[in-house]
Protein backbone atom coordinates (compact mmCIF):
# COMPACT_ATOMS: atom_id res chain seq x y z
CA UNK A 1 0.00 0.00 0.00
CA UNK A 2 2.94 2.33 0.37
CA UNK A 3 4.46 1.85 -3.07
CA UNK A 4 2.67 4.33 -5.31
CA UNK A 5 4.52 6.03 -8.16
CA UNK A 6 3.97 9.67 -7.47
CA UNK A 7 1.80 10.00 -4.38
CA UNK A 8 1.87 8.79 -0.82
CA UNK A 9 -0.56 6.30 0.63
CA UNK A 10 -4.16 7.02 -0.31
CA UNK A 11 -7.52 5.36 0.19
CA UNK A 12 -9.12 4.56 -3.12
CA UNK A 13 -12.52 2.99 -3.72
CA UNK A 14 -13.83 2.24 -7.21
CA UNK A 15 -17.20 1.01 -8.26
CA UNK A 16 -19.57 0.94 -11.18
CA UNK A 17 -22.89 2.54 -10.28
CA UNK A 18 -26.23 2.09 -12.07
CA UNK A 19 -26.96 5.77 -12.44
CA UNK A 20 -25.85 8.72 -14.51
CA UNK A 21 -22.96 10.94 -13.41
CA UNK A 22 -25.44 13.79 -13.00
CA UNK A 23 -27.64 11.76 -10.63
CA UNK A 24 -24.63 10.80 -8.50
CA UNK A 25 -23.26 14.32 -8.49
CA UNK A 26 -26.59 15.58 -7.12
CA UNK A 27 -26.32 13.20 -4.18
CA UNK A 28 -22.93 14.60 -3.25
CA UNK A 29 -23.82 18.24 -3.52
CA UNK A 30 -27.45 18.84 -2.50
CA UNK A 31 -27.76 19.16 1.30
CA UNK A 32 -31.18 17.43 1.54
CA UNK A 33 -29.82 14.46 -0.44
CA UNK A 34 -26.43 14.44 1.32
CA UNK A 35 -28.26 14.10 4.63
CA UNK A 36 -29.94 10.91 3.43
CA UNK A 37 -26.84 8.78 2.92
CA UNK A 38 -23.70 10.37 4.36
CA UNK A 39 -24.38 9.64 8.03
CA UNK A 40 -22.60 6.58 9.42
CA UNK A 41 -25.17 6.08 12.18
CA UNK A 42 -27.58 3.19 11.67
CA UNK A 43 -31.32 3.66 12.09
CA UNK A 44 -33.01 6.93 12.93
CA UNK A 45 -30.62 9.74 12.38
CA UNK A 46 -31.01 13.43 12.46
CA UNK A 47 -28.66 14.72 9.83
CA UNK A 48 -28.34 18.34 8.92
CA UNK A 49 -26.29 19.34 5.94
CA UNK A 50 -25.50 22.74 4.62
CA UNK A 51 -23.22 23.90 1.92
CA UNK A 52 -22.01 26.94 0.11
CA UNK A 53 -21.53 25.24 -3.22
CA UNK A 54 -18.72 27.06 -4.98
CA UNK A 55 -14.93 26.64 -5.04
CA UNK A 56 -13.66 27.99 -1.73
CA UNK A 57 -17.14 27.59 -0.16
CA UNK A 58 -17.61 25.39 2.90
CA UNK A 59 -19.99 22.61 3.82
CA UNK A 60 -20.89 20.92 7.07
CA UNK A 61 -22.78 17.84 8.05
CA UNK A 62 -24.06 17.42 11.60
CA UNK A 63 -25.24 13.92 12.38
CA UNK A 64 -26.84 12.87 15.62
CA UNK A 65 -28.37 9.68 16.88
CA UNK A 66 -29.55 9.52 20.48
CA UNK A 67 -26.81 11.07 22.57
CA UNK A 68 -23.94 10.93 20.16
CA UNK A 69 -23.40 13.48 17.51
CA UNK A 70 -20.62 14.24 15.15
CA UNK A 71 -19.82 16.84 12.62
CA UNK A 72 -17.76 16.75 9.49
CA UNK A 73 -16.92 19.82 7.49
CA UNK A 74 -14.76 20.92 4.62
CA UNK A 75 -14.10 23.31 1.78
CA UNK A 76 -14.78 22.79 -1.92
CA UNK A 77 -11.55 22.91 -3.87
CA UNK A 78 -12.69 22.02 -7.39
CA UNK A 79 -16.13 21.64 -8.92
CA UNK A 80 -16.44 20.21 -12.41
CA UNK A 81 -20.05 19.17 -12.74
CA UNK A 82 -20.80 16.27 -13.13
CA UNK A 83 -17.34 14.74 -13.58
CA UNK A 84 -15.21 15.79 -10.67
CA UNK A 85 -15.56 17.12 -7.16
CA UNK A 86 -12.63 17.85 -4.84
CA UNK A 87 -13.07 18.95 -1.24
CA UNK A 88 -11.21 19.01 2.05
CA UNK A 89 -12.75 16.97 4.81
CA UNK A 90 -12.19 16.98 8.53
CA UNK A 91 -13.99 15.48 11.52
CA UNK A 92 -13.75 12.90 14.30
CA UNK A 93 -13.26 10.09 11.81
CA UNK A 94 -10.10 11.70 10.46
CA UNK A 95 -9.00 12.52 14.05
CA UNK A 96 -9.58 16.12 12.96
CA UNK A 97 -6.68 15.83 10.56
CA UNK A 98 -7.06 17.68 7.28
CA UNK A 99 -7.85 15.30 4.45
CA UNK A 100 -8.72 15.68 0.80
CA UNK A 101 -11.47 13.79 -1.00
CA UNK A 102 -11.59 13.55 -4.79
CA UNK A 103 -14.69 12.15 -6.46
CA UNK A 104 -14.41 11.27 -10.14
CA UNK A 105 -17.37 10.17 -12.26
CA UNK A 106 -16.80 8.63 -15.68
CA UNK A 107 -19.92 7.76 -17.70
CA UNK A 108 -20.06 4.21 -19.12
CA UNK A 109 -23.27 3.99 -21.11
CA UNK A 110 -26.19 3.91 -18.64
CA UNK A 111 -23.77 3.42 -15.77
CA UNK A 112 -20.99 5.43 -14.20
CA UNK A 113 -17.54 4.48 -12.97
CA UNK A 114 -17.02 6.14 -9.63
CA UNK A 115 -13.52 6.62 -8.23
CA UNK A 116 -13.16 8.02 -4.76
CA UNK A 117 -9.71 9.00 -3.50
CA UNK A 118 -9.16 10.06 0.08
CA UNK A 119 -5.77 11.29 1.24
CA UNK A 120 -4.32 12.97 4.28
CA UNK A 121 -2.93 16.45 3.91
CA UNK A 122 0.18 17.62 5.71
CA UNK A 123 -0.29 19.81 8.77
CA UNK A 124 1.15 23.36 8.88
CA UNK A 125 4.04 22.11 11.03
CA UNK A 126 4.98 19.54 8.45
CA UNK A 127 4.45 21.98 5.62
CA UNK A 128 7.53 23.97 6.43
CA UNK A 129 9.61 21.11 5.13
CA UNK A 130 7.26 20.04 2.36
CA UNK A 131 5.48 22.89 0.72
CA UNK A 132 5.02 21.44 -2.73
CA UNK A 133 1.97 19.20 -2.41
CA UNK A 134 -0.14 21.42 -0.23
CA UNK A 135 1.06 24.57 -1.97
CA UNK A 136 -0.26 23.19 -5.21
CA UNK A 137 -3.67 22.64 -3.66
CA UNK A 138 -3.73 26.12 -2.15
CA UNK A 139 -2.80 27.62 -5.54
CA UNK A 140 -5.62 25.67 -7.08
CA UNK A 141 -8.01 26.87 -4.41
CA UNK A 142 -6.94 30.46 -4.93
CA UNK A 143 -7.31 30.13 -8.72
CA UNK A 144 -10.73 28.63 -8.39
CA UNK A 145 -11.84 31.25 -5.90
CA UNK A 146 -10.60 34.16 -7.99
CA UNK A 147 -12.29 32.78 -11.08
CA UNK A 148 -15.52 32.79 -9.18
CA UNK A 149 -15.25 36.44 -8.17
Amino acid sequence: MVHGETTGPVVQVRRRVRASAEEIFELWTKPDLMARWMSPFPGAVDCKASCDFRPGGTFSLVMSSGQSSREVSGTYVQIDRPHKLVFTWTGPLTNHANTLVTLELNPRGDETDLVLTHERLPTPAILEGHTRGWGHILDHLADAASKDL
Binding site: P9, V11, R18, E23, L27, L93, N95, R120, H130
Partner: protein, 131 residues
Amino acid sequence: MIEIEARKKAASRTARLDAVFAALADPTRRAIIERLSRSEARVTEIAEPFDMSLNAVSKHIRVLEASGVIERHRQGRDHILSINTRSLDEVDGWILRMRGYWEERLDAMERLLGELKKDRLGPKDRKHGSR
Protein backbone atom coordinates in the same frame (compact mmCIF):
# COMPACT_ATOMS: atom_id res chain seq x y z
CA MET B 1 -9.76 13.72 33.32
CA ILE B 2 -10.07 10.47 31.46
CA GLU B 3 -11.51 12.30 28.52
CA ILE B 4 -8.61 14.75 28.46
CA GLU B 5 -6.13 11.88 28.54
CA ALA B 6 -7.98 10.17 25.71
CA ARG B 7 -7.93 13.39 23.71
CA LYS B 8 -4.21 13.85 24.31
CA LYS B 9 -3.61 10.32 23.17
CA ALA B 10 -5.68 10.86 20.04
CA ALA B 11 -3.85 14.12 19.32
CA SER B 12 -0.44 12.49 19.60
CA ARG B 13 -1.60 9.61 17.44
CA THR B 14 -2.77 12.12 14.85
CA ALA B 15 0.54 13.98 14.96
CA ARG B 16 2.44 10.72 14.61
CA LEU B 17 0.30 9.60 11.68
CA ASP B 18 0.73 13.01 10.04
CA ALA B 19 4.50 12.66 10.32
CA VAL B 20 4.40 9.16 8.85
CA PHE B 21 2.17 10.23 5.96
CA ALA B 22 4.43 13.20 5.24
CA ALA B 23 7.45 10.90 5.29
CA LEU B 24 5.74 8.58 2.81
CA ALA B 25 4.75 11.41 0.48
CA ASP B 26 8.13 11.36 -1.26
CA PRO B 27 9.06 8.75 -3.92
CA THR B 28 12.71 8.52 -2.81
CA ARG B 29 11.66 7.84 0.76
CA ARG B 30 9.17 5.23 -0.39
CA ALA B 31 11.94 3.56 -2.39
CA ILE B 32 14.13 3.53 0.73
CA ILE B 33 11.32 1.85 2.68
CA GLU B 34 10.85 -0.66 -0.08
CA ARG B 35 14.57 -1.47 0.05
CA LEU B 36 14.41 -1.87 3.85
CA SER B 37 11.31 -4.03 3.64
CA ARG B 38 13.53 -6.68 2.02
CA SER B 39 16.21 -6.53 4.72
CA GLU B 40 17.92 -4.11 7.06
CA ALA B 41 20.83 -2.23 5.50
CA ARG B 42 23.69 0.24 5.99
CA VAL B 43 23.27 3.85 4.92
CA THR B 44 25.78 3.38 2.09
CA GLU B 45 23.92 0.31 0.82
CA ILE B 46 20.68 2.24 0.76
CA ALA B 47 22.26 5.18 -1.07
CA GLU B 48 23.90 3.02 -3.76
CA PRO B 49 21.03 2.69 -6.30
CA PHE B 50 20.05 6.35 -6.06
CA ASP B 51 21.31 8.95 -8.49
CA MET B 52 21.93 11.50 -5.75
CA SER B 53 24.58 12.39 -3.21
CA LEU B 54 25.01 10.43 -0.01
CA ASN B 55 24.18 13.64 1.77
CA ALA B 56 20.83 13.97 -0.02
CA VAL B 57 19.93 10.37 0.77
CA SER B 58 20.96 10.92 4.41
CA LYS B 59 18.50 13.80 4.61
CA HIS B 60 15.66 11.53 3.47
CA ILE B 61 16.78 8.93 5.98
CA ARG B 62 16.65 11.52 8.76
CA VAL B 63 13.06 12.45 7.82
CA LEU B 64 12.12 8.78 7.93
CA GLU B 65 13.81 8.37 11.31
CA ALA B 66 12.12 11.46 12.74
CA SER B 67 8.72 10.15 11.72
CA GLY B 68 9.46 6.80 13.35
CA VAL B 69 9.17 4.84 10.10
CA ILE B 70 12.73 3.58 10.26
CA GLU B 71 15.11 2.93 13.13
CA ARG B 72 18.89 2.99 13.41
CA HIS B 73 21.12 0.82 15.51
CA ARG B 74 24.87 0.42 15.63
CA GLN B 75 26.79 -2.69 14.80
CA GLY B 76 30.43 -1.97 15.50
CA ARG B 77 31.24 1.02 13.30
CA ASP B 78 28.23 0.56 11.04
CA HIS B 79 24.88 2.23 11.32
CA ILE B 80 22.21 -0.28 10.40
CA LEU B 81 18.75 0.88 9.40
CA SER B 82 15.57 -1.12 9.65
CA ILE B 83 11.83 -0.57 9.27
CA ASN B 84 9.61 0.03 12.25
CA THR B 85 6.67 -1.99 10.97
CA ARG B 86 4.41 -0.72 13.73
CA SER B 87 4.33 2.78 12.23
CA LEU B 88 3.38 1.38 8.84
CA ASP B 89 0.71 -0.78 10.46
CA GLU B 90 -0.85 2.43 11.76
CA VAL B 91 -0.96 3.80 8.23
CA ASP B 92 -2.51 0.57 6.97
CA GLY B 93 -4.98 0.74 9.86
CA TRP B 94 -6.02 4.25 8.91
CA ILE B 95 -6.41 3.26 5.26
CA LEU B 96 -8.48 0.20 6.17
CA ARG B 97 -10.73 2.21 8.48
CA MET B 98 -11.35 4.88 5.88
CA ARG B 99 -11.89 2.32 3.14
CA GLY B 100 -14.48 0.58 5.33
CA TYR B 101 -16.17 3.90 5.98
CA TRP B 102 -16.41 4.81 2.29
CA GLU B 103 -17.54 1.33 1.20
CA GLU B 104 -20.43 1.61 3.67
CA ARG B 105 -21.28 5.13 2.62
CA LEU B 106 -21.24 4.20 -1.07
CA ASP B 107 -23.54 1.24 -0.30
CA ALA B 108 -25.93 3.72 1.31
CA MET B 109 -25.56 6.05 -1.68
CA GLU B 110 -26.49 3.24 -4.08
CA ARG B 111 -29.50 2.30 -1.95
CA LEU B 112 -30.68 5.91 -2.08
CA LEU B 113 -30.19 6.01 -5.86
CA GLY B 114 -32.42 2.93 -6.07
CA GLU B 115 -35.09 4.54 -3.90
CA LEU B 116 -35.06 7.77 -5.88
CA LYS B 117 -35.37 5.83 -9.13
CA LYS B 118 -38.40 3.93 -7.80
CA ASP B 119 -40.03 7.16 -6.63
CA ARG B 120 -39.52 8.70 -10.03
CA LEU B 121 -40.94 5.76 -11.95
CA GLY B 122 -43.93 5.43 -9.63
CA PRO B 123 -45.64 2.15 -8.66
CA LYS B 124 -46.97 1.50 -12.19
CA ASP B 125 -43.59 1.20 -13.85
CA ARG B 126 -41.77 -0.34 -10.95
CA LYS B 127 -41.27 -3.59 -12.86
CA HIS B 128 -39.09 -1.87 -15.44
CA GLY B 129 -37.20 0.04 -12.80
CA SER B 130 -36.11 -2.98 -10.75
CA ARG B 131 -33.41 -4.53 -12.86
